[in-house]
C-alpha cells in the first residue's frame, strides 16, 4: 500500500477531501429521501423525445418498463432504445457538485452560479447525447456501443473538467478570467 509519507496533506487539502466526502454523503442521503432519479429520468426522456421530433421530425413511442421499474423504452419503426436511471447523469452531477462545494476560499455566489450553470450544461449535454445515440442506433448501430460507453462519456468528462478549471480560474473564457 502506498503511504502519504512523501506527500503530506496541508490543512486546505485535508479540508477539501473531508468536505468533498461530506457533500457526496449529503447527496446520497438526499438521493435516498427525494426521488431525484425519477425526476431526472422523466425530464430527460421527455426532452429527448421532444428533441428527436424537433431535430429529425420523428415521432417515437415511449413505454415504461415496470415490475420492477427498469427505465423507459423509446421506440420508432427502426430502433428501440432503453433509458434507465443509470443514463440520467446523476452520478456525474453528484461528483461535479461535491468537488465544487468542497473547494475552500471561494465565494458562495460563485459556487451557486457554477452549480446551476453546471447542472444545466450537463443536463442538456446528456439530452443531446441521448438524441444523438438514438439517431446513431437508427443509422449506424455498429457504432452505438463505442459512442455510448466511450466517446460521449469522454466528452462529458471534458465538459466537467472544463467547468472545474474555469471555477479554479485555470482557463479563461472570452479573454476574461472567470473570477
Amino acid at each position: 500500500m502506498p503511504s502519504f509519507k512523501d506527500a503530506t496533506l496541508n490543512k486546505d487539502q485535508q479540508r477539501f477531501l473531508i468536505l468533498a466526502f461530506i457533500w457526496f454523503l449529503a447527496w446520497q442521503i438526499i438521493d435516498f429521501i427525494a426521488p431525484i432519479d425519477q425526476w431526472l429520468t422523466d425530464s430527460i426522456v421527455a426532452l429527448s423525445r421532444a428533441g428527436i421530433v424537433l431535430l429529425f421530425n420523428k415521432s417515437t413511442i415511449c413505454y415504461r418498463i415496470q415490475d420492477p421499474f427498469q427505465g423507459y423504452m423509446i421506440t420508432d419503426s427502426v430502433a428501440s432504445f432503453k433509458i434507465a436511471h443509470s443514463c440520467n447523469g446523476k452520478a456525474i452531477l453528484f461528483l461535479f457538485t461535491a468537488f465544487l462545494w468542497a473547494i475552500p476560499n471561494k465565494q458562495l455566489s460563485k459556487k451557486i452560479m457554477y452549480t446551476l450553470s453546471g447542472f444545466t450544461l450537463i443536463f442538456f449535454a446528456n439530452i443531446i447525447r441521448i438524441i444523438t445515440l438514438f439517431q446513431v442506433l437508427r443509422n449506424t448501430p455498429d457504432w452505438f456501443e463505442f459512442l455510448h460507453h466511450s466517446l460521449f462519456q469522454w466528452l462529458m468528462y471534458v465538459i466537467i473538467l472544463f467547468l472545474w478549471m474555469m471555477f479554479l480560474d485555470q482557463v479563461k473564457l472570452f479573454g476574461r478570467g472567470s473570477s
Binding site: 502506498p2 477531501l17 461528483l95 475552500p104 462519456q153 473538467l161 478549471m165
Partner: protein, 147 residues
Amino acid sequence: MDDVFRPGKIIWARFFITLLFILTVQTIQQYLSNVYYDRVCNCWSKPLDNIFVRFAIREACVYFNILCAFSQLKKMRKGEFISNIFLYISIGFDLLFILIAGIRYFNPTDYRLGQKYLEVFSYLNSGSLFVFCFALYFLTNKIQKNN
C-alpha cells in the same frame, strides 16, 4: 513513458488517452454483458450465467482501470499525493461495491439496491474518479499559490 506533466506544461494527450483507454475497457465489459444477456428470457447465457463470474469480470475491469489511472497519476508533479488519494478513494468505493453486492446477493429484487450497485460501479469503472483526481492537481496548485 513520458510524464503526464512536463515542468510547467500539461500533456493533455496523456490524460485523454488514459481516459479513452479506461472507457474502452468499460465498453468491452458492457459489450460482453450485451452479448451474453438474453433480453427475451431476461437471463444470462454461459459462461456469464454464474453471478460470481460476472462479479469477477467487473472487479477485474475495476482494478485494471485503477492500476492504469494510478500509474498515470503517479507520473504527475505532486503525483504521489494525488495518486495516493485516487487509490484510497477507489479502494473505498470498491469496498462499498463489494458490500452492496453482498447485500444484493441475498436480496436480488431490491431495485434501489440494484441502482446503487450500478452507481458505485460506474464511479469505479467509468473513469470519473480519474477525472476528479486529475482536477485535484489544479486545485493543489491553486491552494499553494494562495498560501
